[in-house]
């Protein structure tokens, strides 16, 4: 045989690969074979669907719109863009215990945080605390890169510039007395954002790092004074700032404002009347947006979402129906060798 190989240098290798004879699994998609699969998937889906739906039904959500475009809205007065430092109060009541931990979101609609030019208008180098970017911000930040006096803006760019600075105070009305509900502002941002992606410059005090820089045009206070109450919550690692900088995917969005986890309210908001004091300072008329606050508790699957459960139920049912159809088809058109 060795000689034979020598004599035929052109002879192709007779291997399973070159001769395309590799052992192969050849699945046949025909009715008879897929029926069990359909039944299994259908049943599993129905199971998941039911579980999801039950979980979702147990989640309580309270949405309160306070845009104030309507005459009877308590914030009607404040919705005028000319109004400065307007405060309005929203009254609402809870009929049964709102189980904790309660998440307190603020919502905006028709606000396109995903607008491309808006989205790229930020400087991750600055936000990482790199001082060289403080002097020469990233050019995508235009026109929020330098102020009129050619001082670099820190943090530069549109995203930071447009931050919605909210101040909400929640009171439970107990016997006519307002009892403030403590709001927990820690840990509302992503852990990685707070610890890794965003950093303050290693300059103490922090304000020295911002020498010869300008605050963003729309900001009332510079970055190092974002939270006067907590010195550690300033600069780029301010929790509200972090939440805002993580741009929303869709134009109608909500962002986490606070959590209610402390004191008397650790188990949730008890039934009763509440009042929400809103510092109304972000006009939305220019984009016909709406503003709201949302109270919600969460489960293992996150916020309330009925859709997923319904979808699983529907598809599961569909699969079961399909398997019945397949059965009929199989009975009528089976292949001889499937017997």
């Amino acid at each position: 045989m060795v000689k034979e190989e020598n004599e035929s240098p052109n002879r192709p290798d007779n291997t399973a690969f070159t001769q395309q004879r590799l052992p192969a699994w050849q699945p046949m998609l025909s009715a008879g074979i897929v029926i069990p699969g359909f039944v299994l998937i259908g049943l599993a889906f129905i199971g998941i669907g039911v579980a999801l739906l039950i979980t979702s039904r147990n989640i309580q959500v309270l949405e309160l719109d306070y845009t104030g475009t309507e005459q009877n809205s308590p914030c009607f007065q404040c919705s005028d863009p000319d109004q400065q430092d307007c405060v309005c109060t929203l009254q609402f009541s809870i009929n049964s215990l709102f189980e904790g931990p309660v998440f307190f979101y603020y919502g905006l609609s028709n606000y396109f945080q995903n607008y491309r030019r808006y989205g790229v208008s930020r400087d991750d180098g600055q936000l990482y605390g790199d001082l060289s970017y403080f002097k020469e911000p990233y050019d995508q930040c235009e026109p929020y890169r330098f102020d009129r006096n050619k001082r670099p803006i820190v943090p530069c760019g549109s995203v930071a510039n447009c931050i919605a600075v909210y101040t909400f105070r929640l009171f439970q009305i107990v016997n006519g007395q307002q009892k403030e509900v403590p709001l927990d502002g820690k840990g509302i941002a992503w852990w990685t954002d707070y610890n890794i992606k965003f950093r303050n410059p290693t300059v103490t005090p922090l304000r020295n790092a911002f020498n010869s820089t300008a605050k963003p045009l729309f900001w009332p206070r510079p970055a190092y004074e974002l939270d006067p109450s907590d010195p550690a919550n300033n600069g780029f690692i301010n929790q509200d700032f972090l939440v805002w900088m993580r741009r929303a995917a869709l134009p109608d969005f909500r962002k986490l404002y606070r959590r209610i986890t402390e004191g008397d309210y650790a188990n949730g908001l008890p039934a009763g009347n509440y009042s929400l004091e809103i510092a109304y300072n972000y006009p939305v008329l220019s984009f016909s947006g709406r503003k709201m606050v949302v109270f919600s508790n969460v489960s293992w699957m996150g916020g309330k979402n009925e859709f997923l459960g319904i979808a699983y139920l529907v598809i599961g049912t569909l699969c079961v129906v399909m398997s019945v159809v397949m059965l009929i088809v199989y009975a009528k058109f089976k292949f001889p060798e499937e017997d």
Binding site: N14, A24, Y111, N114, Y115, N161, R254, S286, I315
Partner: protein, 1280 residues
């Protein structure tokens, strides 16, 4: 001298003033006198000035010299050592070759320039540039450059590597050693190939390769002959003779005394044609043609050395001019694909328009300027209309993947893979010639799966083209050679001769050859069948008759016709006798060894006379010729077995068969030189015939003649052989020949009906032929109209011939040809046979190879339009050449095509090469079908090039067909697997791959599009751009390529067993308008699902852009991969590895990428992976997205399974059941077992004439056919 100077000045002046045509030394009419002088004069004049003007003029002169129709070349030797400016041939290129495209310095610009010829690259660059325009960019500009850079640099790398390989090869060739004569050294000195110049004298030793095109002036052979092997050039391995230009350098060659001018034509790429004459100082002209030209690349054989004058060098040599790059054909699928790409472009523009309009309306609807609207650097907000105009271009950048540029790259890769598998198929490998299938056109593999018409040559394609002498008729008497038939029958009954015969040979061979045999048993196996086929067992009656004839003719000085007949067989040809010298191919040496043994075995009665019992001595082979001089007749003084070392090298197998037949009767052709032929008589006497002239074969005359001086009678005898119809009309006065002619014609008809190739042999004794011979010589000298003059000479000589007899040569059908044709026909392919043979032969072969069936209605379309009718619906058409010519005319074309469309098979006879291509073109254009042409000879080249796919069969006929073809196979039967299996696979694989690619791109890109509805149509991506690049580059690129190379819908056994499955690819096939749009709609649907299920889940939650994008990405990836898994028909290990690998790679790469801190999507996937919602989304979205397709497949497979699906069901059965089923199916369909070839049972000679034969053979038609210039089998005898 003054006149000379004046002349020079005159021409000078004309040069300067732009009269560029002043020097007319090249005109042959004027050049009679002193052209050499004139050339020299011009040289001197051009030397006189040394200024820029002179340089320009010099360049112009060079240009003109190169482009002149005639070139005047003189020896370089008188100018040796002079400066370059003084060299006479300095305008002509040297022998150094450079085939590289680039130089080191200019590689980058040239390569980029080359690459930007591709439209796809321009598209890419356009997008990249668009991205640099700040107002429209959709991605970071630098990042957008990555794809184009990757593609350009990969291609550049490949080009550079190829160019480097070419450079190395050039360097190797240029530095090969050769011998150039040097005046200084007075001898040939060793130099390099690149040093060779036009006008040099080059010496080539035996077995060396010729460095440039040389005009042969001198050889070591006393008679001025030189043998060359042209296998490097055209693959033909038989030796060819070249002879020196007569009368130039005799008797002793002195390069320095060569003072003639060689006038030759401009270089061209015709390997078989060369026109030249040598003008001696005394103005005598000697013509020379291709028979005196040694081509670059040939190998000198059997000759100690040859000296030639370089006429063309380097890139002007014929071999270099023939060196074309690979053929580029565009396949049908690719043409359709391009249409669909245009649909994609329209779709892209539509989507961009939607985006732009959407953006406009979104902006219009805004009541004010919202804070998120970023103004430009001046603080102004761009107006909605301008912004939406910009957005249109941004959208193009965003959705660019919709145009599947990567598809083109993938298709190339897939085709490389497909070709790998085709060339590695062991079933398409031929043991005998040790050759695989060659794929010359790299991009039409899938066309093999769509063939509707096959046009096949007959000889050498359907038949083996290994000619066997079968029967002959001498002077009107038929000698049926029954033993011959029997031996053949025995062989066929025993199966293939190679199986049973080697043993016999080994046993009978003597000790020495025994050793040889055992050493090279493999070679013998391979050569044995051909050895067997050349054997002719003489007819006893004829043998007796011949021995009587010889004795009478020698004694009485009067030639017996039988004697003449065999002399004609032995002499009237251009067969080269080669000694089985060691340096020749080993195969032929062994071939002769075996023959010696087997001859002794079979020719038992003749042993004592022809073959001696002396041991086979090795030196016999090297010196087989008896020492003879030119004086004529010899008594036999050599009793040694000289014939054993003989090896006949014929350009046409017919000729070899005839020579072997003559040998069987004892007329052994011993040697051939241009001037003489040596033949040994049965009695052992050796006759040397002086050859006065050879009128070579040409397709107009259809005959060839040899004019010899007979050594016994000293007469000039003209032996002519040729096609019967071309001979019969040239016969002399009927007289006593009348009966002979009639009987011979009858025998010829019988032979033709048996499917034998017929030839007639005639003789003519010329009394005083010197004048005509002289005329012929003069004719050859004239460079123009030479063919015409030879023709005229031939017409004068070949008249009043005396008929000697006729031969019937069998051309056996190749192995399993009938089965192949039957299978192809069952596969829905119409097989047409276009042959140059006569109708009877062709019809017979047609029946034998099952092209025509007994129950067919065969319409014979000849001049008389006789229709033979049986009661059947299968119509077959037989057309002869003349009728075909009429049918191809404009007004009949339409009706012919209509008729041919209804016919199951068509057989065209006596077709010229041009008509062959005409038929192919007509059918291809009128019916718009895929055509395939298969042939093996030079006469099929036209047809091969005209068809969509040209297939060459590398056989006995040289390589012209193979060179022109897209695929080269070695046997006709390989066509079956090539088409039915590889064609089908390649087509379905590629079609499905392309459809999948379109789907994939659309499904992926549409996610971005749907997102635009939720971001104000601002070209935002919810995924990092890098991840988008990864998606196409790493995640989803390998699976479709693997799918295109390796998927197997039905196994090869089933495809071969059920040829009907081939029909699925014909016509539109799987890649149709419908399938394309269905998959596009599916892509739309799936992208909708993949976008909106996650959207609905996340719509009220606090989700950020990239967290939202991550499940979309994952879902899209899973859906796209699972979609492919539904399409994959057979999962091998490779499939699993690639599919799972792609998934793993995508997971790992995305995880790695999202670990980069400065990236937008930092930690998003890691976050998502901890969220159960992510998994729940992935599961439900994938299921919903794929449910319709899956269900559709299941339902269609169950309710209305396609033939392919049924084939796959068949595949799942175990082997024995499968075989039984296929057998049953074939039986049911009526295919049955293949009938025995009709040729294997020799019919009795008394076959009654059927009514059809007179229709074809009537004189009227014969004449007509001549007028119409029909070819005959002799077409294949070409003059090299």
């Amino acid at each position: 001298v003054t006149e000379l100077i004046r002349d020079a000045r005159h021409s000078m002046w004309k040069h300067v003033c732009g009269f560029s045509h002043c020097v007319r030394a090249q005109q042959p009419a004027n050049g009679k006198k002193g052209s050499l002088l004139r050339i020299r004069r011009r040289e001197s004049s051009s030397m006189a000035w040394w200024n820029p003007l002179a340089l320009i003029r010099d360049a112009l002169t060079g240009q003109r010299v190169r482009e002149n129709d005639l070139r005047h070349l003189v020896s370089n030797l008188p100018y040796e050592g002079l400066g370059k400016k003084k060299q006479p041939n300095r305008y002509l290129p040297g022998n150094a070759i450079k085939t590289t495209k680039y130089t080191l310095l200019l590689f980058l610009p040239l390569n980029l320039f080359e690459q930007f010829h591709r439209l796809a690259n321009i598209y890419f660059v356009g997008l990249a540039i668009l991205n640099f325009v700040p107002v429209v960019n959709a991605f970071e500009p630098e990042v957008a450059l990555i794809p184009i850079c990757v593609i350009l640099s990969l291609t550049a790398l490949k080009d550079a590597w190829e160019d480097f390989r070419r450079y190395q090869l050039d360097k190797k060739l240029n530095s090969m050693p050769c011998f150039i004569y040097s005046r200084k050294d007075k001898q040939f000195g060793e130099r390099r190939w690149k040093d060779v110049q036009v006008g040099d004298f080059v010496k080539v030793l035996s077995n060396e390769i010729v460095p440039a095109d040389l005009l042969l002036l001198h050889t070591s052979d006393r008679k001025g002959m030189c043998h060359i092997e042209t296998s490097n050039l055209d693959g033909e391995t038989n030796l060819k003779e070249r002879k020196v230009v007569p009368g130039i350098c005799e008797p002793n060659f002195e390069p320095e005394s060569f003072n003639s001018v060689v006038v030759c034509e401009r270089p061209n790429n015709n390997l078989n044609h060369f026109k030249c004459y040598v003008e001696k100082p005394n103005t005598e002209k000697v013509g020379a043609g291709i028979e005196s030209l040694l081509l670059r690349g040939c190998t000198v054989r059997n000759t100690d050395h040859a000296i030639g004058f370089v006429v063309y060098a380097g890139h002007e040599t014929k071999s270099m001019l023939n060196n074309n790059g690979p053929r580029y054909k565009r396949s049908k699928l690719e043409r359709k694909l391009n249409v669909d790409v245009i649909f994609c472009v329209i779709l892209l523009l539509a989507m961009c328009l939607v985006g732009a309009l959407g953006h406009f309306f979104w902006r219009q609807a805004l009541p004010g300027v919202p804070p998120y609207l970023v103004p430009d650097s001046n603080g102004h907000v761009v107006s909605p209309s301008l912004s939406s105009f910009y957005m249109f271009f941004s959208m193009i950048i965003l959705l660019q993947v919709l145009i599947p540029i990567s598809l083109y790259v993938s298709i190339e890769l897939v085709k490389i893979g497909q070709i790998f598998f085709i060339t590695h198929d062991i079933d398409l490998y031929d043991e005998e010639t040790d050759s695989r299938i060659q794929c010359k056109a790299l991009n039409i593999t899938e066309d093999l799966g769509q063939i509707e018409y096959i046009f096949s040559d007959k000889t050498g394609t359907l038949t083996e083209n290994k000619m066997v002498f079968r029967r002959c008729s001498v002077m009107g008497t038929e000698y049926p050679h029954k033993e011959n038939g029997k031996s053949y029958k025995r062989i066929t009954e025993e199966g293939r001769p190679t199986d049973s015969l080697p043993g016999n040979h080994v046993n009978s061979a003597n000790s020495l050859s025994h050793i040889a045999v055992s050493n090279f048993s493999k070679v013998i196996d391979r050569t044995n069948s051909s050895a067997q086929e050349t054997e002719v067992i003489p007819d006893r009656k004829l043998l007796r008759r011949v021995s009587v004839a010889e004795s009478t003719s020698i004694s009485s000085q009067k030639m017996d016709p039988h004697f003449d007949f065999f002399l004609a067989l032995a002499i009237c040809n251009t067969v080269v006798v080669s000694m089985g010298t060691a340096q020749r191919r080993r195969v032929s040496v062994l071939f002769t060894v075996i023959k010696a043994g087997s001859l002794r075995n079979i020719f038992a009665p003749k042993r004592d006379r022809t073959f001696s019992d002396t041991s086979f001595k090795e030196d016999d082979r090297f010196n087989p010729f008896p020492q003879v001089d030119d004086s004529g007749v010899f008594p036999s003084h050599s009793q040694r077995d000289e014939s054993s070392g003989l090896c006949y090298e014929a350009e046409s197998p017919d000729e070899a068969a005839l020579v072997y037949a003559a040998k069987a009767y004892g007329f052994i052709l011993l040697s051939r030189t241009p001037d003489s032929v040596t033949v040994r008589m049965p009695s052992g006497r050796v006759l040397v015939f002086e050859v006065l002239d050879i009128l070579t074969f040409d397709s107009n005359r259809k005959r060839m003649s040899v004019l010899v001086r007979h050594p016994i009678t000293k007469e000039c005898v003209l032996y002519t052989k040729g096609a019967d119809y071309s001979i019969m009309e040239l016969l002399g006065a009927p007289g006593n020949q009348k009966n002979v002619v009639a009987d011979t014609q009858y025998h010829l008809d019988c032979y033709a009906k048996e499917g034998l190739r017929t030839l007639c042999f005639t003789k003519k004794v010329h009394g005083e032929e010197y004048e005509q011979k002289r005329a012929c010589f003069v004719a050859k000298a004239a460079i123009d109209g030479r063919e015409q003059l030879i023709m005229d000479t031939a017409v004068q000589l070949e008249t009043k011939l005396t008929l000697l007899g006729a031969t019937g040569i069998e051309d056996r059908l190749q192995e399993s040809v009938p089965d192949t044709i039957l299978t192809l026909r069952e596969a829905g392919i119409k097989v047409w046979v276009l042959t140059g043979d006569k109708p009877e032969t062709a019809v017979n072969i047609g029946y034998a190879c099952r092209l025509l069936e007994d129950e067919d209605l065969v319409i014979n379309m000849s001049c008389k339009n006789k229709v033979r009718s049986h009661l059947t619906s299968n119509i077959s058409l037989v057309i002869d050449g003349r009728t075909l010519a009429m049918l191809l005319s404009k007004d009949l074309q339409g009706r012919f095509v209509e008729l041919a469309k209804r016919c199951r098979s068509v057989l065209c006879c006596r077709v010229t090469p041009l008509q062959k291509s005409g038929v192919v073109k007509l059918i291809r254009e009128k019916l718009r079908v895929m055509t395939l042409a298969v042939g093996d000879g030079a006469n099929d080249v036209n047809m091969i090039q005209a068809a969509d796919i040209g297939i060459g069969i590398s056989g006995q006929e040289g390589m012209q067909a193979v060179m022109a073809s897209d695929f080269a196979i070695s046997r006709f039967k390989h066509l079956k697997k090539l088409l039915l299996v590889h064609g089908h696979w390649c087509y379905t694989r590629l079609a499905n791959m392309i459809i999948y690619f379109f789907y994939k791109n659309l499904a992926n890109v549409n996610l971005l599009f749907w997102y635009q509805f939720y971001c104000g149509f601002t070209a935002t991506t919810m995924l990092d751009y890098w991840l988008l690049i990864f998606f196409n580059l790493f995640y989803t690129s390998a699976p479709p390529i693997m799918f295109g190379i390796m998927d197997k819908d039905v196994s090869a056994e089933v495809l071969l067993g059920v040829p009907e499955l081939y029909r699925t690819g014909q016509g539109a096939g799987e890649y149709s308008f419908c399938t394309f749009w269905v998959s596009m709609l599916d892509a739309f649907y799936q992208s909708l699902i993949c976008f909106f299920i996650p959207y609905l889940v996340y719509q009220d939650l606090d989700v950020d852009v990239f967290t939202f994008g991550m499940p979309l990405n994952a879902v899209s990836l899973i859906t796209i991969l699972l979609h492919l898994s539904i399409e994959i028909k057979a999962w091998t290990v490779v499939h699993w590895i690639i599919m799972l690998g792609s998934f793993a790679v995508s997971l790992i790469l995305t995880l790695l990428y999202t670990s980069c801190v400065t990236c937008n999507s930092y930690w998003t996937l890691q976050n998502q992976l901890t969220d159960p919602i992510f998994y729940l989304i992935c599961i439900i979205t994938t299921v919903v997205a794929l449910l319709p397709r899956y269900t559709f497949h299941v339902m269609r497979n169950s309710i209305n399974p396609s033939p392919i699906v049924q084939g796959r069901h068949l595949d799942r059965l175990d082997t024995s059941t499968k075989e039984a089923w296929i057998k049953e199916w074939r039986g049911y369909r009526g295919g049955g077992e293949v009938k025995r070839s009709k040729l294997s049972t020799p019919p009795s000679p008394s076959t009654p004439r059927t009514p059809t034969s007179p229709d074809f053979l009537g004189n009227e038609i014969t004449l007509n056919c001549l007028n119409w210039g029909c070819p005959n089998p002799f077409d294949r005898i070409r003059t090299f």
